[in-house]
Subunit: 162 residues, 2 copies
């Protein structure tokens, strides 16, 4: 008889990894659940819920970038930017509003606005392939946007409404 | 035998009205044609193409605000904000980027961004009932947004990228 072991999900950090204890991962989890309009994630473990954010380079390359990305993928792109907005809000104490506008074929733009100040402005390309090497990479990318946003707010506090 | 006369479209200014010669109406026409993905407006006269923007108060009230607004209506909401962005761009010489984000049931937000500056920020409600008493009213509402935008740019030229 073989013992039942948790099957690791390819790419993503295994259950129990310290990344799951970070505020960032808690926030992205909360955002992902908030946009779960189909109830896909009810009762699922964290590493399963967050698994779709983690893709190897090979997996990304294998995804065709034709047609419009589906709703579930778009909700992940939104959750990612919503989480950044929440982090900005926590740091600066001002409301940060995320906008994700997708045009056709996986192109688009993501904005985060604080007061009258645009604190993040990203062109999105190949949204079909949206994903990160690991949760830790995802967190560090978000941290980068956060620090740039805080720098912009620091330069123009009046426009941000401080 | 009765003579063929142009049937006037209810509410909208009749063909030949000076409003059709304004830059604003030319721009909104251009934007409406640009978003005409179904080819509805090919070969149609201007006052027919712009007629859906003009609704009497009674017509507006009669439209139910349930469910998500349809694509053709959304394209009018976008054309309206795109035209304002073009006007801003013409006045200040900087690129103005419009964002229209609709959530559910006809609620949403419209933004226009110049550099890192939000020069227009509007909450949209009851988008189903999007319409104006006349083209002239539509133009004056746009002119209002334009002047507020230019004022904001005047206050924060560095953030706008001047």
């Amino acid at each position: 008889m073989t013992e039942a072991v948790a099957v690791p999900v390819a790419g993503i950090e295994p259950a129990g990894d310290p990344i799951y204890a970070t505020d960032y991962v808690k926030e992205i989890l909360r955002q992902t659940r908030a946009l779960d309009s189909y109830g896909m994630w009810e009762g699922k473990p964290v590493e399963k819920i967050l698994a779709p954010y983690v893709l190897t380079k090979e997996q990304r390359r294998a995804i065709p970038v034709i047609g419009d990305p589906d709703d579930v993928l778009i909700s992940r792109v939104k959750a990612f930017h919503n989480a950044i907005a929440v982090l900005i809000e926590k740091e600066c104490g001002l409301m940060a509003v995320p906008f994700v506008q997708l045009t056709h074929e996986g192109f688009g733009r993501a904005l985060i606005v604080v007061g009258k100040l645009v604190v993040m402005d990203r062109t999105l390309r190949d949204v079909h392939r949206f994903g990160f090497d690991s949760l830790s990479k995802m967190k560090s990318e978000s941290d980068k946007y956060l620090s740039v946003a805080l720098e912009i707010i620091g330069k123009h506090p009046d426009v941000a409404g401080m």
